[in-house]
Symmetry: C2
Subunit: 473 residues, 2 copies
């Protein structure tokens, strides 16, 4: 950085009083990441109100060599939106840019600014009898810009894909302050490199997403939620293939969790009860949705699908939610796994993926190896079986001192887990991104060819290195 | 280039006798593009047999500064696989790398080398009761590598997307000879920039695609093909929206053509007959497909959908193909438009796209303006209405001298058409790519920000400039 005061007064002239603050009361809430793992400091908090203000600010940052940390709802999982401790970086909030610029019901498209909150978009789509088919725990704070920059996932990826699949058009400010405008969606466009794709998932290291045109889907007319008890994870995979063959297009989500994980949730949620009477080694939570065309037949089709699965011996037991309330209760169990595990004691968490067919083999090996190597610890694998996405938590031995155990065993366990993932040709970040959290691990285990390509592209587009320094690369 | 003889002998040592030839009889057929618009010369024709041979050859080309022109089936529409006239470029055919390495029926994935011909892949998928849902006129020659490098489209994009949407994993040789290996598909993978996306559609200017893992879909169990007569293009769009609302997930293709275009085809195909008895200003060819789950109900659903469209006054007349032979006859009309127009006289052709809602307005304006400005010429717009993709042909006035008319009016007409496309915020290349054909027009009309980004990425990844020089950029 050249002269902080000169920079700040120029930035204030650009953004106005509302657009820039150094007031600790206003800045501090945004300096720690959602999971509380990283805390930084910031030169100031900038809150531009328009794309042109973002562009002017970025040019200013380039001229003064000020690093920019873009931030949406600050609900990321990898510290990607938290500044470093130097106090030299500018925190750039997109939250003031929160207009839904347009919704085209015929084309099923919404054009949103980066600061639009996911839940707001959900409601706006619902008002037009449409839906935006991506949801996750942080929907009340996560913003469109953050979801795009991290290529967010969630529980509907099986059917609708990650955020990448839902972005039809994009507007972003590049490191030189130019505005990349590809907001107008064209279903077919072969004019060279698809630059939009490069920005999606780049965690603010190549540019700042300021707006996007997103894909909407018809509203759901009928849903069916199933809870199934299973003897093994291979049986869960067989059930998934069975459901895909029978009802592929209706299959919205397919989540799995082990029996002891359900028990942990039931201890955590005193008013919840197990969906099934008996005990099972594994459980699957399955949702199938239908549009208006085949809503009437959904219940019958699901019954037939389950009956065939019983006949084939794939399912030990299963129940179909008999009401919307029961369906929500099933999903509440799934969504409570993370807080329940957290309440149960210290743990290290991993968000990994492997090829779909490898999930049972990977989980079996990883659980056995981790528990063998760290006696007393317990490994819990759950998550989005339909996406090959496993949330792999390792829980400290009972009675451990949390912080001390994290300090001594946290990193070695993560390295050990990631090594196993790499052997299975998987990814050490399925849906949470790299941020600060996994940067070293990415560089330790990532494909050197891919890493070299990323470094070249980063250097070419951001030669001064102002875009989210210290993240990802 | 340094010393051609030294390069050629080193290349021969790498590839063996079968892998390198300068024999004019063997090389010449590949020096002219499929449409016969570009003819070049080549230093030699290299035909490596493996990814490692490609990598070694690329390193050699880098050391000797030899430009590489990758080629698949040589059926591209924009001269992207044709060398320049210097005779200094190496033609690199991927056709020998034609193994289907694996098909995983459970995961519905095929891993193919770049030289696998599209039709071969179709048959291999069919043998497993699956299908690869992308097809186009050149399916008997187009290769997987070429389809990926050009992000090919076709008539099934409406439902299944362009090639990009079907590529799950990719292997490519980069300009420094390193091998980018992301063949193993992971449904969720957030480890930084999605480099695969950058290679798709980059026309060989950033790397050479050597293999890919592609998405397969369940086989079609039932299909229905409709021919509809319409009063106007807005009515066609209304019919499209109607069909999407009623049968969105089953809608496989939605093509439109004007009445005089049908007349041209019927003159060209003496044994063909008009699907409808009366005359109509516009025609739509619509296909709906169903999997095994709802195959039985497809016919009834389509009848109900059409009845509702008649009731709303959207359709003037319509007929449902009563046999597979009749369905094929309908599609044959659509596929014969290009050769029929070609036989009818000289024309300049444009493959453009605009936002879906703009298609009627764009076509009306472009036809009127072109025919007004070039009296006696006739403008024909047809194509993939569901994708906003219009094939816009301008036919010379009757009695024109073809080559002379092309020479005098071809370029001005194309510039005029592309200017209109730009005003409608469309793309001057919807599905055919840029290649040599549209390079100047891209640089004249493209977004300067996007062009600058492409140039920076190209310079960063291919600093010597050996990858398909003179194409796209």
């Amino acid at each position: 950085m050249t002269d902080p005061d000169a920079f700040l007064s120029a930035a204030r002239a650009t953004l106005g009083e509302r657009g820039l603050t150094g007031d600790p009361d206003l800045v501090e809430p945004w300096l720690t990441d959602w999971r509380g793992r990283f805390t930084g400091r910031a030169l100031a908090l900038a809150s531009p109100a328009s794309t042109s203000e973002v562009a002017e600010l970025v040019r200013l940052c380039g001229a003064h060599r000020v690093g920019i940390v873009p931030q949406g709802g600050n609900s990321g999982m990898s510290g990607g939106a938290t500044p470093d401790p130097s106090g030299a970086q500018l925190l750039l909030s997109l939250r003031r840019m929160n207009a839904i610029r347009a919704i085209d019901s015929d084309a099923r498209q919404a054009t949103c600014e980066a600061g639009v909150i996911l839940e707001t978009l959900h409601h706006a789509a619902e008002d037009r009898d449409l839906r935006f088919p991506l949801s996750l725990g942080g929907k009340g704070s996560a913003t469109v810009g953050g979801l795009i920059s991290t290529n967010a996932g969630g529980t509907q990826v099986l059917r609708h894909g990650s955020m990448r699949a839902l972005v039809l058009g994009l507007e972003a400010v590049m490191p030189d302050g130019s505005i990349f405008d590809q907001l107008t969606p064209l279903k077919k466009d072969n004019r060279g490199f698809d630059l939009k794709q490069l920005l999606i998932g780049s965690e603010g290291t190549l540019g700042i997403v300021t707006a996007a045109t997103l894909k909407l889907e018809p509203a759901v007319a009928a849903r069916t939620v199933i809870w199934a008890g299973l003897d093994s994870l291979p049986a869960a995979r067989e059930l998934l293939l069975h459901c895909q063959a029978a009802e592929g297009e209706a299959l919205e989500g397919f989540e799995v969790l082990p029996g002891h994980c359900l028990a942990t949730v039931l201890r955590y949620l005193p008013d919840a009860r197990s969906p099934l009477a008996g005990e099972h080694r594994w459980h699957a939570l399955i949702e199938l949705d239908a549009g208006s065309r085949d809503a009437d037949s959904l219940a019958d089709r699901v019954e037939a699908m389950l009956a065939a699965a019983f006949e084939r011996g794939v399912i030990a037991d299963a129940v179909i939610a008999q009401s919307e309330a029961q369906a929500e209760a099933f999903w509440r169990i799934r969504e409570s796994i993370a807080p329940a595990e957290r309440a149960a004691g210290p743990a290290v968490q991993h968000d990994v993926s492997v090829p779909l067919a490898s999930v049972p083999g990977f989980v079996e090996e990883a659980v056995a190896q981790v528990e063998g190597r760290w006696p007393g610890s317990r490994a819990v694998a759950f998550g989005h079986l339909g996406d090959g996405n496993v949330h792999f938590h390792v829980i400290a031995p009972p009675g451990s001192d949390g912080p001390r155990w994290q300090e001594s065993d946290g990193k070695p366990i993560s390295r050990f887990v990631h090594d196993i993932v790499a052997r299975w040709r998987g990814s050490i970040s399925a849906e949470h991104g790299i941020g600060q959290l996994k940067r070293d691990e990415l560089h330790r285990l990532g494909d050197p060819v891919a890493l070299a390509l990323m470094a070249k592209i980063k250097a070419a587009l951001d030669p001064v290195g102002i875009m989210n320094p210290g993240k990802l690369l």
